[in-house]
Symmetry: C2
DNA sequence: CAGATTACCAAACGATCGTTTGTTATGCTA
DNA sequence: TAGCATAACAAACGATCGTTTGGTAATCTG
């Protein structure tokens, strides 16, 4: 895997701080991102070639390199966008909600719904990359870590008894949810909210007795 | 990906039903399996080439095809062996144990220990293959499904209240455990038994009150 | 209207992939 | 000892991969 020479590549992401942005074919870059997201989610990173993405976008393979310096760069941007989108979804799910357990459940449901969006974003959020591919992997992990800190706070608010290891509590809950896309079926009996509700219900039973149903 | 022509390939797996098995270089096939398992676990399926496996085994790439019809076949056998090994580990962990919660915890600890064995068997057990690659994926999923049924029974023995969906209970618990290899560090504070104990402890608190410690 | 920039096409490059083919020692068996 | 299956080597095949290079219309800017 050759180191991508970033010459001639202008960073077209970032905020459109000044000027009316570009005007010619204003949306091809967004098209690429959308098609790449769909393909990565459906087939995984390795099984999706730049030629596939180009064909789905109606371009030639080399043309992608005008917008993105490399395949890894393209994927990393998708990853960042997915994390940011889920982060915002959690924000709005939390908006106005009160009660530590209710807030945790709402955040969890938004998190899961975000994971399942666009087919299946698991392939984008999950640690698809074993250990290898150092730079990219480190970047993705850091992004996710920052996001998952939100749940550390939400769990701290629960006021769990001291005998409970809050870190393991969080890892258990997040693991259960992050694994859900593996068995989730869109035609199944549960939707994201129901799954989050059931998980929280099971846990809540032990720590917050007297609350059988909502 | 050309359809592998299985001509000239004798199935060298299966039970050594009759005769003293092969006798000449009796162990090269096992070497291949061992090295392939190590490489797949470390780098993943796609990032591990047949040339890598051959080099690690001290053979030439083509020689692998005397023992295995294809790369997928090699992986599938590894997957089956991993599932079988964990199945046996759960067997022996359960041996002599009584009490529904204790048995579930023991099975869970053995399951997690098995996942973490050999570096990280996650790459072997996990749904590495997105949706594509039909034949192989179907086979792997079927093997895992049969194995995971064990936990359905263990959970049924708990006698959970009727308000609890046992399926979601199982999916939650298995998801939490199956996700653990993602964050598990061998130099960390927890070993598989501690993790299983903590997870069960959190759940048990709600359904089996009065049991603070073991 | 001249020049620069944008957004692409067309075509290829070198590397690597899974796999196949033909051959060759080696040991078992009759 | 002849014949045969075993277990590998040696070398290549065709395909596909990420990426690069050079050119070219279209658009924006001065």
């Amino acid at each position: 895997m050759a180191k991508a020479s970033a010459t001639r590549m202008k960073d077209r992401s970032g905020p459109p701080s000044a000027g009316p942005a570009v005007s010619r074919q204003p949306n091809r870059r967004a098209d690429i991102l959308a098609e790449a997201a769909r393909l990565f989610a459906a087939r995984g990173y390795d099984a999706t070639s730049m030629r596939d993405i180009a064909a789905a976008t109606g371009m030639l393979p080399g043309s992608l390199y005008y917008h993105f310096a490399s395949k890894e760069e393209l994927f990393a941007e998708l990853h960042d966008r997915a994390v940011a989108a889920i982060d915002r979804a959690v924000d709005s799910a939390l908006d106005g909600k009160t009660g530590a357990w209710t807030r945790l459940e709402a955040a969890l449901a938004a998190h899961l719904a975000g994971l399942l969006e666009n087919g299946n974003a698991l392939a984008i959020m999950a640690p698809d990359f074993p250990d290898d591919r150092g730079d990219l992997n480190a970047r993705l992990i850091a992004r996710r870590r920052a996001y998952e800190d939100r749940f550390r706070d939400l769990i701290a608010d629960l006021g769990l008894p001291e005998t409970i290891d809050e870190r393991l509590f969080r890892l258990m809950l997040m693991g259960a949810v992050n694994w859900s896309p593996v068995w989730y079926r869109t035609d199944g009996a549960y939707d994201p909210a129901a799954i989050a509700g059931a998980f929280i219900g099971i846990l809540r039973m032990g720590f917050d007795p007297g609350t059988v149903s909502k």
